[in-house]
Amino acid sequence: MSLPADVLIELYRVMFTIRRFEETVSGLFGEGRVPGFTHSYIGMEAVATAFCWPLRETDMMSSTHRGHGHAIAKGLDVSKLTAELYGRSTGVCGGKGGSMHFADFSRGFLGGNGIVAGGLPTAVGAALGRKLDGTDDVVVAFMGEGAVNHGVFHESLNLAAVWEVPLIAVVENNQYTQYSPYEALTAGGNISERARSYGLPEVKVDGQDIAAVYEVAQRAIQRARDGDGPSLIDVETYRFHGHHEGEEQILGVDVYRSLDEIAEQREQRDPVPLARQLAVDAGVTDGTLAAIESEVDSEVEHAVTFAEASPEPELSAALADVYADA
């Protein structure tokens, strides 16, 4: 599928924003400037970008522990995300969420999740609700490949299929379930085949190719809008960083995958330069793309400045929002 130049430009902008944001976060984490721990989306940018691009603001999306890319792709403000990582009052959740719990319900972003597959039942319910409300809104649920071996994966897919809710379940198979190759932990190996057991189409796509993911995403989202039921999409992707930032300091390198493998993936399968090349091939000038890159660099730099200048939260805020007022 060949995408028009103007679409490629905007897709590239999102992908490049995720990349620059995550590289920046990685640096901040390495310097100890942000607390907690964080999981990098670097290498997987095409997936969130392609699946969020066709979504309306009233469409919803549930995310994972590795959710920065999802948040950016759904249009959340980069400065507020950065401030959240710093635990500042100006963060998207006022500093109470952190890296794994970005949320913006006004944009249909139902939140990251610290529990593998934890957001999936919620996404099924949200999709049911959109359907019962008589809308043709859809819900995209991202999850890692580790989620497919979780009990609620089966419960949720089964429920979504028997109720024909407008859910697009996207498995981001980045090849490693925490610190293990996914094949070692996943019976049958082929995740897409599991769709058949729910009576759903079997779909596998190369997650490093923005055009390919875009086409699959469009089709699945349209299927859900048309009332034809849920989809399970097996996206083959790769993460360039560890399970979490700073992994190498704890585990060392060359432990569960080789540096050569990572280098090869970066060399040949990096979705960001691949998308850039697609844009160039479609006639977009290098100058246009360089201008976008420069804008994004400024946006991310500004986000860090904004976050670091933002006040710490009031301690009393820690006691608020436990309950909704009557």
């Binding site: 959740c93 969420g97 929002d321 436990v322």
Partner: protein, 326 residues
Amino acid sequence: MPETTYREAVRDCLAAAMRQDPDVFLMGEDIAEMGGSMGVTHGLLEEFGKERVRNTPISEAAIAGAGVGAAIQGMRPVVEIMYQDFITLSMEQIVLQAAKHRYMSGGQVSVPLTVRTQGGAGWSPGAQHAEQLEAWLCHVPGLKVVYPSTPEDASGLLWSSIYDDNTVVFFEHRTLYPIKANVPEALSPIELGKARVHREGSDVTIVAIGRLVHVALQVAEQATEEGISVEVLDPRTLLPLDEDAIINSVMKTNRCVVTHEAVTRMGFGAEIAALVQEKAFDYLDAPIERVGSKFTPIPFAPVMEQYVIPHEEDVMAAVKRTVARI
């Protein structure tokens, strides 16, 4: 006022809420044609149809999670977990998702979900269909916990639970379903967090929940024959707790017995005992007595089951121990 059973009171309240509000709908295992394992929702399918009275697979995590998702996107789902023992299978979605979305997102969203469940011993269902787990839920900030003991309380409290903007876990006791009382025909909401004094007295306060409220009332009746004046107080809402009502009662009677069917150790009664000694220590004339089940799973054999769970004589013995201390 017509005589209504506890079971009918729950059903009538669900029907009234669904008539008033299209956002209220039900999900649970075999709740439609069969009316659930206890027949509580029987007849609702005919009036409201299968879109709003939804049979689910045996998927307790997905049932609760679908409730969370439907709630955060604007509906007021009521889900039924067939036995409260099975709520252990839903705990991740209730404790880590429902109870925390509002907080983690900095107050962006509310989760107006009601989780109805039932259980309790007294009919030899065995160890996996008879326990009382209300204390588990009371330990979770972000949840509300309601446990009515009478038909009129079931009706009024369920209404308030459905219309509360927080997730409410609503416990029903299996053996209370057939009991009858006069329930107002026009639904009369009861505010959450308000205790009910069933019987006033001056010598000792029994704080009782669920089935044990009825036991406590029997004990109070018998105690009058021995010249002991017993006050019986049912918190009805366990979280938030009507602390003032309990403290005021104990300040008047100077003695306190707490009783529930759950095991005594780490039970709801432990919190009541702590509360009373913190806020009314100088008023106490006797140690606070706790009466609950022995610390075992619920055995099957009827004689063993009856041996393990608390009865009138246990509560009466506790009352006498407190009044014996002058």
